[in-house]
Point group: C2
Chain length 429, copies 2
């Protein structure tokens, strides 16, 4: 006999769990719709080559389909790369789309914390060229509204950062360009690893002692500052770096390659944009924002805003993640279609792990008081269904009055209708 | 550069298509709910061994996952076998459940007719012991209501048969037991193949000339009879066969193995049950039913009622399929859990192929009459979103009044709000 279980890292959801999940999805979707999102659907699997080189060090978690003579495919790892493929294929320059669907990762599973190998993501993305940070601000407003809508009894923080700032700081710390992405993967482990473990990993990856000490001072140590203090601090860093560059340049000290004059244009733009973003978030009345310079996220494709939302005091990891990915389309498309995109993903199964369960309620139980009266009951059911109400009866050989009443009570029926040989009685259960 | 397409037999659905699909699913789900269905969710893939030997000659269409060191899995082929696995695992004896989810078959694809390799099924099943044909009648009532709910401009027929009747007729036609299932697969091709092609296939599969001629007379030729005439005819066949058995028995003519006395108990019960079912369908006011003795369906697991619904004059195949599968649980479970089940599956993508497309409509477009006024517009948006309305603005650098009006008209906004330097104008677009 076969073993009756679900594959590792996957679960069945019983009716109560499924209804709870539906409620979470309904809430998210209603906010997606109020921002004029339109749904699209992409397949569960993609050509494998489309998923290559998009997920940094996590690519090993992709599920492959067996080669059965045909396309070489893999299950989707997220909804962002398939969406970019969709944009490119259809040459779409402007869209606000959502997709709520399952994604697959061969990760270390845990049901309790909502970490599964198959899980639901609810994605919203705004694509198309726009004034700086306007769409980014709307995305953060949506994340804030969604977290409020769940009405969970936990405080939450929406952590933001900007890839241009992070890259700028790594430059200032003299991290060579080819090590910046892998350094980000390590920095992303703040909170999971101790500072010592992070430093060791950075050294192992080939960063110099001086770079690591710079990272500690500039990136890992800004927890107790307000966002405006952090902005001022970043401006100060840029000013100092420029001054240092000018001085060493005028003293003709620049000769080794890693001491070349830093191009901090993007860094500066990032800081200005985040300052503007904070102003827009004020207009949008978005609270619970925290500019966190150590927020990195593992994915390769982010280019600007990075965002991650967490509930305080619970162990489910981030419940929302996202950011700006302006170059993903261009990286897929040979016809250099470039569509600036910013979006986010709600980890529905992680919310689910925190969510109070929902019990179904029904309308009418049709029972029999005395005698089988099956055809009478069928006739009554028929009329109730025609009204659009939800109704059910016992279809077993024997009908016991009390057993039916117990069943109707236990299953939250609001009305019971009972046929008898001579009567039809009706009343609230 | 990679090829930007979806894998063979899969498609993207654009917003209009996705909204149309959602509407179809919403209609089906509302009828599932009115019959007190509860949702469950099972994983997209199952342990491969669970799917083995359930799908007759179609098992070759199962998609396998690559062995990446872990469970050996395959994508689900339908929602029925996973559901039976769920029943057994949780030792559930009674449930009315629905599941609306994607299934996967490496079949010959065609988008136009809704035949895809990944497609959505909407399943409803009633499980648990019950009086004969009561749940079967409810299932047919649901199928009828769903087909009515789609309001499509095509006539439809709900074809029914009973596996016990089909097996009985094959017995009467002297088809050996080990060829009955494969004979069913061939008979199931009525409408796709000519009678001659069917006869040839049956002969090739090893049936005798006499069996094939019997099948033609008794199974393939009952199109122009009413259901009651067919029932009477079946009763006549049973009577005659019994008489023939009695006669040959009293004449001691039974000696070769294929001439043994036929056990027609199940056949007779099938005929009586279908007669009862037709009476219940009268009470439930279900029309468009046609008892079709050639309806077989390829799947191994059916034990009683078989059902298939088709629209007349369109080429999408059957849009609903289902039946009774009383032994599927027992075939999975080593602890001989047996749960009688009857259910059906709506081929959502095939309905989709026939369905009129739906266009999204929005509430408020926030524009600028003169000047950028971005922060004013953001403030207005903020207040509109807070009301739960759907709103959007232009976020490009230039704003041209007429361009905004055109956009709002084209995208079915119901209200436009425009800011100016000195005014806020408001009106229906």
């Amino acid at each position: 006999m076969v073993s009756l279980r679900t594959p590792k890292g996957t679960v069945d959801l019983n009716p109560q769990q499924s209804l709870t999940l539906e409620e979470i999805v309904r809430k998210v979707k209603s906010i997606f719709e109020s921002h004029n999102g339109v749904p699209i659907n992409t397949p569960t699997f993609e050509l494998r080559e489309i998923l290559m080189n998009k997920y940094g060090e996590d690519a090993k978690l992709i599920y492959n389909l067996e080669d059965q003579g045909g396309d070489i495919c893999s299950l989707r790892y997220d909804l962002t790369v398939p969406f970019s493929r969709y944009l490119c294929m259809n040459r779409i320059q402007k869209i606000r789309r959502y997709q709520i669907a399952n994604v697959f990762r061969r990760d270390n599973p845990s049901f309790k914390t909502g970490r599964l190998r198959e899980f639901i993501q609810a994605d919203f993305d705004i694509c198309g060229s726009a004034l700086p940070m306007v769409n980014d601000a709307e995305i953060l407003r949506m994340i804030y509204d969604i977290l409020i809508a769940f009405s969970l009894p936990y405080a939450f923080t929406i952590k933001i950062n900007d890839k241009r700032i992070l890259t700028g700081l790594l430059k200032v710390c003299k991290v060579p360009e080819d090590l910046q992405q892998t350094a980000c993967s390590t920095i992303d482990k703040v909170g999971k690893l101790t500072t010592e473990e992070i430093n060791n990993e950075l050294i192992t990856k080939g960063l110099s002692e001086r770079s690591v000490s710079g990272i500690n001072r500039l990136i890992l140590n800004n927890e107790n500052k307000t966002d405006l203090e952090t902005i001022l601090n970043l401006k100060e860093i840029i000013k100092t770096s420029k001054l240092a560059d000018t001085m060493s340049s005028s003293l003709s000290l620049k000769n080794s390659s890693d001491e070349s004059i830093l191009d901090l244009t993007e860094f500066e733009k990032g800081v200005d944009d985040v300052e503007m973003l904070l102003k827009y978030l004020d207009i949008y009345k978005v609270k619970n924002i925290k500019l966190d310079l150590s927020l990195a996220r593992g994915l390769d494709y982010y280019t600007g805003l990075i965002v991650e939302a967490v509930y305080e005091g619970v162990d489910v990891g981030s419940v929302v993640g996202g950011g700006r990915y302006d170059n993903l389309c261009a990286s897929l498309s040979s016809n250099t279609l470039n569509v600036p995109c910013v979006g986010f993903s709600v980890g529905v199964m992680r919310i689910f792990a925190l969510y109070p369960p929902i019990t179904p309620e029904w309308d009418v139980f049709v029972g029999s008081g005395y005698g089988l009266n099956l055809e009478d009951r069928m006739d009554i059911l028929n009329r109730i269904w025609a009204l659009g109400l939800r109704a059910e009866t016992f279809t077993s050989k024997r009908v016991n009055y009390m057993e039916q009443v117990e069943y109707a009570k236990k299953n939250n029926f609001s009305v019971g209708v009972f046929t008898g040989d001579n009567e039809i009685s009706k009343g609230s259960v």
